[in-house]
Symmetry: C2
Subunit: 497 residues, 2 copies
């Protein structure tokens, strides 16, 4: 058994790049990308990616160099998901909602060699580069501006965010390949999907569908802005079959004005993540013509790690009961080697009783290679051959996992992750603030929003609006507390936390 | 980038065994196997496999030991697809249609340590063991008889065979994992399939669905005999959604007697392989309620390597045209790194014109590790990082491959592969035969059947029936020529072939 040949014919490293070459061969003349009036076939798409990869090499990009990009869901960002790894480099897609300072931090941390900037974000990028030079004394990367292929469409709304900045999560080709395969399988996406880019590609590579649509020979409908009008008009125009979204996007769709709405004639499959979809929202959106599958993931898992597979026998249950079952996080995706919920005290698996909580742990080749330049964080999350998600959950008797709480101090607002520690630090910069504690507050639209409890200096007469104004100067908009409550004392644990 | 941790959490070898542990966790109480009145859940299935693996170890089975089995599609054979690799051993599922001598040859070649025998095949196995001892002077393996869990149901008909004995094709866990994932994807098999075992599991591990049904949390309907009655009654009883078959099985279904037929209320998806399905057969079977997808593969590729993905725009074409398109071999499966058709003379890719023929070549981790103890054969099929299938084909302008001829001397009869060289050797053993040449002859039922051209000694008065009777003694029944033609001379190439 040991004398068998291991060669290029029977052992090939796994990479999602094969999805593109295969699409170019198998689906050559099928439309790969639509963006307003622009269209490319899979063959053209492949050719454009090859040229970009070759240009990167001629710009002295070598293996493991980082290529950063600040752009909305335009064709260039999709093409970079193939061209950058094709050149052996590492793609670093930055959240366009971050402020200049956070963008600068990411450029510094990743040591980006090239920085691609969509024309819409030139001002923000310029500021980030200034900070990079002045505050961090770092050399500036080579800057490439991305021209719009058509015309910009308006104001951006509603995004999804699994990332907890400024940790840099590094993926492998193998992980991306496996995760992509699993999500097509888990969502049961057939061939020739027409996929609407309502989810930002910089969120975990659009939960791997940047590669998945190539694997399925589908068509990518790129849009610059995730508005109700854009969503409805593109569904009607291109007969969209699939899209991904955070619950906030479902709300946006439901709040569409009458003139923005179109009748959905064929059901649109929606993979929902970022936060569990509330049952009433699920019921309403399904009535309009969307079919929802709920997934749970995190950047560290190369996107969704659990998917709430629908069971035929749920059809017999009342709608509310179905919605409750579908709002659970579900089952491990196929390419994960294992999923478990472990108790804190002894690291043993919890019983499948839907009650006993523990930390959700994952194992498999789609888990990140690690945080970039952060050994401490790596040693915290990788323990005994498991990746610890920081999320608390239970296992139901039917094997489906459900999150009960997050053990990390993260607030999820409109699908974006907010670190409460980061907001607290910003508030504490105010000279009249003595202590601050930021928690998640339920919010009818955003799911959660940050709420700050603040202890002031005795001599201060700050008002709520002053603290909020201070935060606006120091934080990206979505991180600013919606409410500030002044208190005399903050409850603490025995160790002072 | 190089300092990132590689550990059990983020790098796990790929194996289809994870499909079973996942099924046991995720689909614990769902029915995994039905065989007549016997039923197991995925949890019980997992537990039974673990016990069998542990028994194998206690019988001194160690890594890379070969475990052979001669059995029809009973639960034991399905369970062995997990339990044997779980014990680190190599599963060797033998075609039950082979005669005792061929079974003995396989036991010798694989150096089987244990031989599992279904009670129905005890006589054949006994003979094989006698030959192993007397003719080959080999130690006999430990024999384990498999009792039937229910009662046998009748006469076996129609099987599929990609194997070209006595070459022993060795698979890796990685290849089995990737191939299984690809076939679920290519066939678009959703969750909770109800899968009818009309295809023999010993044919390429049932084209990987021995593992694929676990990956999908489906139910395996095991049957002992592939008759029209068994097929129809199981479809009606268990609401079968999927099955695999050679074209001959489709013929068997269409020839069912009125009392054997049942109305198909929900379409049954059929993956057809072994030979291209003739267009009239496709039309007829689809009218009864079956939906056919055609796949092409070979044992060396761990089952199907190409799949004829249906395109929505074919729906607009006339039925005959659709059938013609669907009878092509199709596109490379997703986990292959590459597929090509290369010209003999220069090894360059043929143009995509549907006319220029070349040899079909494959590359990817689902290709076999190699032929067991056969360096010559390995060096013939693995060349320049490609696996050469021996099949001649063309590429159509839409990227779909179609086979035009086989460059290997193989006759495919009723889905079973017959080596013309092996039949010729058997004929040549007759003292009055001087030369023999065996070719494929079109056959209305079996697709092809062997036809022998024979030159006799001048002093002989042999008749056709004598040669056929001689073959019956020396070959398994399905290999015996249906026609023998006596000739004066055989056409030869310049080198005497």
């Amino acid at each position: 058994m040991d004398n068998l040949p291991k060669c290029g014919a029977n052992y090939v490293p796994l990479t999602p790049l094969t999805f593109l070459t295969r699409a170019s061969n198998s689906y050559a003349n099928r439309t790969s990308i639509i963006y307003a009036n622009i269209r490319f076939t899979w063959r053209e798409n492949h050719e454009r990616c090859r040229r970009l990869a070759s240009s990167l090499k001629s710009l002295n990009i070598v293996k493991n160099d980082v290529v950063s990009v600040l752009a909305p869901n335009v064709p260039a960002l999709l093409e970079m998901h193939f061209a950058v790894p094709m050149a052996g480099a590492v793609l670093n897609a930055i959240n366009t909602r971050l402020d200049a300072k956070n963008v600068a931090l990411i450029l510094k941390h990743s040591e980006a060699k090239i920085f691609f900037i969509d024309y819409e974000y030139i001002d923000k990028a310029k500021k980030a580069i200034e900070i990079l030079m002045s505050d961090f004394q770092m050399p500036i990367p080579l800057v490439v501006v991305i021209d719009d292929l058509d015309s910009p469409a308006g104001i951006r709304l509603g995004e999804l965010e699994y990332e907890q900045l400024p940790k840099g999560v590094v993926y492998s080709h193998r992980g991306a390949f496996l995760s992509t395969s699993s999500l097509i399988l888990g969502w049961e996406m057939g061939t020739e999907p027409v996929y609407l880019w309502s989810l930002s590609m910089f969120h975990c590579n659009g939960w791997t569908f940047t590669w998945g649509i190539a694997a399925r020979g589908g068509t990518n409908i790129c849009i610059r802005n995730t508005t109700a009008q854009e969503i409805y008009s593109n569904i009607a125009l291109h007969k969209v079959t699939h899209m991904c979204a955070a619950p906030i996007v479902l709300s946006i769709i439901l709040e569409a004005k009458p003139h923005e709405q179109r009748r959905i004639t064929t059901p649109v499959q929606v993979l929902v993540g970022g936060a569990p979809p509330p049952a009433p929202l699920l019921e309403k959106i399904e009535r309009v013509g969307f079919r929802v599958v709920h997934a749970y993931g995190l950047t560290e898992a190369t996107g969704p790690a659990l998917i709430c597979e629908f069971q035929a026998n749920w059809n017999k249950l009342p709608r509310e009961e179905q919605a409750r079952l579908k709002a659970r996080q579900g089952l491990g995706i196929l390419t994960l080697a294992d999923v478990d919920v472990k108790e804190f005290k002894n690291m043993e698996s919890v019983p499948r009783d839907g009650k006993t909580a523990g930390e959700i742990c994952l194992r498999g080749s789609s888990i990140m290679k690690g945080y970039l330049k952060n050994e401490k964080a790596n040693s915290e999350v990788f323990k005994n051959g498991w990746f610890f998600t920081g999320d608390m959950g239970v296992i139901h008797p039917d094997g489906y996992l459900e999150i009960k709480d997050r053990s990390k101090d993260v607030i999820i607002s409109g699908g974006e992750n907010i670190s409460s520690v980061e907001v607290e630090s910003a508030i504490l910069k105010h000279p009249y603030v003595v202590e601050a504690s930021v928690v998640a507050m339920p919010h009818p639209r955003w799911g959660e929003s940050p709420c700050a409890f603040v202890i002031l200096r005795k001599d201060s007469n700050l008002k709520e609006s002053d603290v909020i104004a201070h935060c606006r100067k120091n934080l990206p908009g979505f991180m600013v507390p919606k409410k500030v409550q002044f208190v005399e004392e903050l409850p603490k644990t025995g160790t002072g936390k």
